[in-house]
């Protein structure tokens, strides 16, 4: 999906420069990355629940040190993928490798931490103080992170003394994050880690995650928040119906699908003519207002001039990630309803 070749309108081309890690399992020059340098790899992985296919021939490889978002609508297979990476489930087809070994072994060696999606439960044992839970988890690892550092990172200092069942949803989520990093893992899985957090909590959380990733850890998080994926991961793997439908930096995804949106006002828009212009993928006419989606806005605008379409108020914008997402998955992203 090397979108830089597609001659896009100049403004954001810098974002489309060849991504550092474009193809799974390959370094930028195209050489395969040795397995020992991979944090995880799915090779042709399939998984079913009864007869329902959750993952369908999944291929993903993540080199160590990368922060990757698994982006997809509800039911895409994100949590299932994480369950396989933790050895909570076994693949029905293909192979899953984690840190050069099997998922179960990587977990047993204490090299992996995870914050799971808990559904209705808090994911914490009731009837005990937060501190006791965190100290217990710490003791289960051979080389845990210092207690105070974990507390500070997760921002749970204020409620260390509280009983777990008296935490709010967002607080419980922070505690579960602290549990995920208590063992100082090399690889961390976060399944919708900010689902219950408020806006400022989210912002602080992602700021902290970026720092955490910069320390050389591999972070894989699942989300259906497009901005979250785009802003916090170097690479976004879009999953839908158990398959990878796109893989690359967030900006590449945008570019890959609907590069630009051209808007203008025109006295008598000729739909057919507009449709035939170079690069155009979609035309919407509303009275005198015209919106064109184009894969090549430069060419489209030139064609508008050449064909003497009398346009006014011309505006070229990058189409949003939402559009990319919808185009890729055919699903309405949830966060539109949730956040706005």
């Amino acid at each position: 999906m090397s979108s830089s070749e597609r001659g896009l309108a100049g403004i954001e081309t810098h974002m489309l420069a060849a991504p550092e890690i474009d193809r799974p399992g390959h370094d930028p020059s195209g050489k395969p990355v040795p397995t020992s340098e991979l944090a995880l790899r799915f090779s042709g992985v399939g998984h079913r629940y009864g007869s329902r296919v959750a993952l369908d021939h999944l291929d993903i490889a993540v080199p160590r040190g990368e922060t990757v978002a698994l982006l997809g609508p509800n039911g895409a297979g994100k949590s299932t993928a994480i369950a396989l990476l933790l050895g909570l489930r076994k693949p029905h087809a293909g192979k899953v490798e984690v840190l050069g070994t099997t998922p179960r072994r990587a977990v047993a060696q204490g090299r992996v931490g995870a914050m799971l999606q808990t559904g209705s439960g808090s994911g914490l044992p009731p009837g005990v103080r937060v501190e006791a839970v965190l100290r217990l988890v710490q003791r289960l690892y051979r080389h845990p992170a210092p207690f105070d550092a974990t507390v500070e990172r997760a921002g749970i200092g204020e409620f260390l003394g509280r009983q777990t069942q008296r935490l709010s949803g967002g607080q419980a989520q922070r505690v579960r994050f602290a549990i995920a990093i208590a063992g100082d893992p090399e690889l961390v899985f976060l399944d919708e880690p900010t689902a219950a957090m408020d806006v400022s909590g989210r912002r602080a959380f992602w700021r902290m995650i970026r720092t955490y990733g910069e320390e050389g850890r591999t972070i894989v998080f699942a989300t259906h928040h497009l901005e979250e994926a785009d802003q916090n991961a170097g690479r976004v793997v879009v999953v839908n119906h158990g398959r990878v439908v796109a893989d690359g930096p967030g900006a590449t995804l945008k570019a890959a699908v609907v590069a630009r949106r051209v808007r203008f006002v025109c006295k008598r828009p000729d739909r057919e003519l507009l449709d035939s212009l170079e690069g155009v993928t979609d035309v919407r006419v509303n009275g005198t207002g015209v919106v064109i989606d184009s894969l090549d806005a430069d060419a489209t605008v030139q064609a508008l001039v050449q064909r003497r379409v009398g346009f006014k108020d011309l505006e070229v914008t990058g189409a949003g990630l939402e559009d990319a997402f919808i185009a890729l998955t055919g699903a309405e992203p949830n966060h539109l309803a949730e956040d706005r």
């Binding site: 909570l88 060696q109 995870a114 799971l116 914490l124 044992p125 009731p126 289960l140 063992g183």
Partner: protein, 250 residues
């Protein structure tokens, strides 16, 4: 070993700090002790030589062990699985079997103070007097023979869904209590029920304690039945645990 110990200590601490747990597990046998004791004359003798208050003390100790096991292992474990905590533990380095082992160990460890508390009521309220050595022996015997209860509790906790755990546990508690002869001496039950009683671990658990207090050598059958239950339930635990593990295969 350190993780296992830390985990067991954590579990025991959680149980002993829970008022609900203590009120139920100590409250039930103590209240029953007082109720059933008041019913009869204090000098009444059952089973040949044993005063009723001592007999009842033994059966209420058994009942306490049963309630503690089914509550700690059963209802609480089931709720914990529903909350996602046990799943979270499975992604830490602790081996998955140690979860089961810890639950059994923690259950056994909380049965001990429950026995002591019920015995204290037997002394204070019921006026049961035994030598220190006898108390020690009785507690140890009842404690060891509670192992099948602990297995049963954890088995139910692993098997039964959180919503059905409470009724299941309550029903089992009273069925094993009543039909095991913990509330009414087995000797005064109709014959059919006596047969049933001999099939239940609660009856044999109590019977061991009663033989001890009555100064009789215990029938070998008591230990055999309890061992049988212990082995069978341990096997069932293993099966449920395996099933849980292999559910991963989908």
């Amino acid at each position: 070993m350190i993780p296992l110990l830390a985990f067991t200590r954590f579990e025991v601490g959680r149980l002993l700090r829970s008022w609900k747990f203590l009120v139920v597990t100590v409250g039930f046998p103590v209240v029953f002790y007082m109720l059933f004791l008041g019913d009869r004359s204090p000098n009444k003798v059952v089973d040949g030589v044993l005063p009723w208050r001592s007999y009842l003390l033994v059966s209420m100790c058994s009942f306490g062990a049963l309630v503690a096991s089914l509550t700690a292992g059963g209802a609480r474990l089931s709720a914990e699985r529903a909350s996602g905590w046990s799943r979270q533990l499975r992604v830490t380095p602790i081996a998955s079997w140690s979860y089961v082992v810890t639950k059994v160990a923690a259950t056994m460890l909380v049965v001990l103070p429950v026995l002591v508390l019920v015995e204290a009521v037997g002394v204070g309220f019921g006026g049961v007097h035994l030598g220190a050595g006898m108390w020690f022996e009785l507690s140890g015997l009842l404690w060891l023979s509670s192992l099948p209860f602990a297995f049963l509790g954890v088995f139910i906790g692993l098997l039964v869904h959180a919503e059905t755990a409470f009724p299941v546990v309550t029903a089992l508690m009273f069925a094993l209590g009543y039909f095991g002869g913990l509330f009414v001496p087995v000797a005064s039950m109709p014959h059919a029920l006596q047969v049933v009683a001999h099939l239940l671990p609660s009856f044999h658990n109590t019977a061991l304690g009663i033989s001890l207090l009555a100064g009789r050598p215990p029938a070998i059958s008591h230990s055999l039945v309890l061992l049988g239950y212990g082995a069978a339930l341990a096997l069932l635990l293993l099966i449920v645990h395996r099933r849980e593990e292999s559910r991963a295969l989908g």
